[in-house]
Symmetry: C2
Subunit: 212 residues, 2 copies
């Protein structure tokens, strides 16, 4: 359901081809909605069938022809109506790693550390890539209102990754492993990271017990 709207939103901001859309999803939309190219093409076909987008064949000289997709009036209305619906469910978390951890006592600690390390690296990479996009926004002197909204969505993605990175460090501390390298240069990070990275498993237990 939401994939269609994610596509409508992206196309509304900037009409483009399916292929370009895939690239945009991989670059930044991914931080709030991920999808494979097959899914995107399928959803585009359905949206066109429903009349929410229209396509125009563009003849290209140096490369295969492409279809330029544009949101129709009906598509825009549908999108706006959906945004207005308050039938809002928050994202249910689904993490392989946490499932593994919840049965962690059944396997050697080393196994868990390996899994954790893989995750840690991936989250750090994602964070880095989102922060790179964030930097691009920051370099524009005056962001359009449109861009500001997109930046705000990106901020959520960054906060999610920060939370994961901080948790990985906490988990590594618990599993008795030193953190291999500092997250990112100090000073370039919002205070939240440094604070939360410092927080240990033990400390958090004590805090919970003192909470009212």
């Amino acid at each position: 359901m939401s994939l269609s709207y994610a596509i409508l939103a992206a196309l509304f901001n900037q009409p483009c081809s399916g292929y370009d859309l895939v690239k945009r999803f991989n670059k930044s939309v991914e931080c709030f909605w991920s999808a494979s190219h097959q899914q995107i093409y399928k959803a585009l076909a359905k949206l066109e069938e429903e009349g929410h987008v229209s396509s125009e064949k563009i003849e290209q000289e140096n490369r295969p022809n492409k279809k330029l997709y544009t949101v129709t009036d009906s598509g825009r209305q549908d999108l706006q109506q959906w945004i207005g619906e308050t039938e809002t469910e928050i994202v249910p978390l689904k993490s392989d790693l946490l499932v593994k951890l919840s049965a962690g006592h059944t396997v050697p600690t080393e196994t868990l550390i390996n899994a954790l390390d893989t995750y840690y690296q991936q989250h750090r990479d994602k964070l880095k890539s989102y922060q790179a996009v964030s930097k691009q926004y920051a370099q524009v002197p005056e962001l359009s209102r449109e861009s500001q909204f997109q930046y705000l969505a990106l901020r959520a993605g960054i906060r999610q990754q920060l939370a994961w990175v901080a948790w990985c460090e906490e988990a590594m501390g618990f599993l008795g492993q030193p953190v291999k390298q500092p997250v990112i240069k100090p000073g370039a990070q919002p205070a939240a990271v440094r604070e939360s990275s410092r927080e240990s498993f033990r400390e958090s237990l004590r805090e919970s017990s003192s909470a009212s």
Copy 2:
């Protein structure tokens, strides 16, 4: 795929009936894997067919009979093997709200504030409920290794919710709305929340631009 393993892990920690499993998923497992009762019953049936769990009919006096599910040797091996696999993909984020926001300029700000507020409340509720479970852990003088792992998984859930709550506040600040009430009593919160709540949209932009 992972639902089966989430069930195996839960049953391995504590054998129970399908009904109880549903309740456990709603209570705390949900913070790392969510599933409906239909999915759980279906997955249980499949696991039994495959021989990974066995069921025993329990006659009950005061209520309908139930089936007590236990993980078999084959199930335990399967679970342990899966935990060892390093084919680990981090959770792709999928958020309706962020999709809505990315096209936020197409609707009145009030619409967005409404949507945001609904999310804010839900994340705060989730956070509160996870923190309540966390408190239960903290009250046990000496946690078993088993429980420590589960607590660590819960910590990830809490951090996720904290990140969402903090972002909601940042977003509200951007949309020009005052935060209606403080997150939770100060002092009961890890420093990370207070820090990150304070961080504004504008400040974050400046930080991004100064980052190397």
